[in-house]
Symmetry: C2
Subunit: 310 residues, 2 copies
């Protein structure tokens, strides 16, 4: 049984155009790192958080990582103490599942420190508790892909029903993260509570097409299905230059593009790393044109979820 463990958990793209609240996928980078060390004090302590500009709570009742760990230790009736170091490699409010990555890294790490009493599948509810602490709601569309890797469909929230979808090997993503903040809460509040039934039918058709495209390894079908007539038109107004950035991706080889989570990051999917890079560069250029700095990440779909570092 190790006394310390360092774990990386990946960023995730939730919603994926037509998959609002029900679909997400994991990427190879960015991601968060958590280092846990058992201590003799019997208490949980946050030693250091790096890369958050001091924005995350250090209070163990409020911090995502410590909430997850506390909840786990209590449920498992374990009473050892844990010192926590957290390294954030992505900004808060980026739309990349920042809190989900921290929650998943923490739960995966503490389960190893406790000598694997739980299979990975059983860790999801713990990680969702952490999300809840951070965001107010325990959505699974970031947490589940961060934990399992790959594309994940949340068939149902109540009861929770997760379907892992193997995606084609050569599917890559380009993500631009403009240095703007969109609060998940704001992005949620501007959504309509009622929608036209015909729009719901269109959305279902596209989601069905996307699921089929992934499983049938049909890149064109994936591309045709990456459409969202419900949420994107509303949320796009929170992201300056959105239409041009998306158009740049489509003009440069992307299969499709959309808002990552609640934004402001924008993802594109493409067949192969070269097209993903080309689409990503074009998206970045569009943001730079209007004076918005941004990070660019090119990655295959992460298939493994969290991993132990050194």
């Amino acid at each position: 049984m190790p006394n310390s463990i360092r774990v990386f958990a990946p960023a995730t793209v939730a919603n994926v155009s037509c998959g609002f609240d029900v679909l997400g996928f994991a990427v190879n980078e960015p991601g968060d790192e958590v280092l846990l060390k058992k201590n003799d004090r019997g208490k949980i302590r946050i030693v250091e958080i790096e890369g958050d500009n001091g924005q995350l709570p250090r209070d163990i009742e409020a911090n995502t990582c410590s909430v997850v760990i506390q909840h786990y230790l209590k449920k498992m009736e374990l009473d050892f103490g844990v010192d926590i170091w957290l390294k954030k490699n992505m900004p808060l409010g980026s739309g990349l599942g920042s809190s989900a990555a921290s929650a998943v890294a923490a739960i995966y790490a503490i389960n190893i420190l406790a000598d694997y009493p739980k299979p990975v599948d059983a860790l999801l509810p713990f990680a969702m508790e952490g999300e809840k602490a951070a965001c107010g709601t325990g959505h699974a569309d970031n947490v589940a892909p961060a934990l399992f890797g790959g594309f994940v469909l949340i068939r149902s929230y109540n009861p929770l029903d997760i379907v892992r979808l193997k995606s084609p090997d050569n599917l890559f993503t380009a993500i631009v993260h403009p240095h703007l903040e969109v609060k998940t809460k704001d992005a949620r509040e501007i959504l309509k509570k009622e929608i036209r039934f015909s729009d719901s039918v269109t959305q279902s058709g596209n989601l069905g097409g996307l699921v089929a495209g992934l499983l049938l390894k049909d890149y064109d079908l994936i591309g045709r299905s990456l459409q969202d007539h419900i949420v994107e038109p509303i949320r796009a107004i929170l992201i300056p230059g959105y239409d041009n950035v998306k158009a740049a991706a489509m003009d440069n080889g992307a299969l499709g593009a959309g808002i990552s989570g609640s934004g402001p990051s924008i993802f594109a999917l493409a067949e192969g790393p070269d097209r993903a890079k080309k689409a990503g560069d074009a998206m970045k250029k569009q943001f730079e044109k209007i004076g918005v700095d941004c990070d660019l990440f090119i990655s295959p779909i992460n298939q493994e979820g969290p991993r132990v570092l050194d």
Copy 2:
């Protein structure tokens, strides 16, 4: 080039619970038969329609089969005449894609009489024209599975984008057709134009799950996904005894059950013919309890679409 041809086209179950307007599947029985014979008069003529109790129009401008054939011959610039015999093996307004079966049988047959100038894929728009003549709208969720067999997802109507979904070999359906008529138009008019967005998300999750379940051959996932919180609660009130009939299916081995098309037929899906039979018998018994006669069909998923008879 034959001078006459007889073709069978299958009944279909559209909507399939969570797949309103975007999903359908074909069954082995019932289905319609069309016999076409070239004539020397250069005109289209309906010689006989059997099994419709005189309800279908004999006017060639209004009858599904003749509309389809006219449209095809005009488009292909062919000028031979055709005599049409139609044998209906299912009632009108049953929710089993009656007009779609006739339209598909007609278009498949005339394409053979014309010596196959069109591949099967290209026949869909012609068959949809026939549906339009019969129903006022050219929905594809009956016509497409009748033409292609199997499960078919209509990813998009505009442009038309059809995805064929291979279903597991041992998936069977039981269909009860109670002797009641529900008009598609009425069943459509009672639907709400606006729905809660949260219901749309639930529906999408289930449709994604159903598509994944079919492609992954995961019977349990198919069963869990066969839910409809939007249309079923509204349309069920048009079908006396609906809740009990559905419950009987679920209690007797069905993976799921729902309204076929716009009803009043009710379908259940099950793993294997025995469970389908058991669920079907139980559904039929429930209708009989309240004095409603019904037909029962047990069938694997039809994988071939229309076929030439003798």
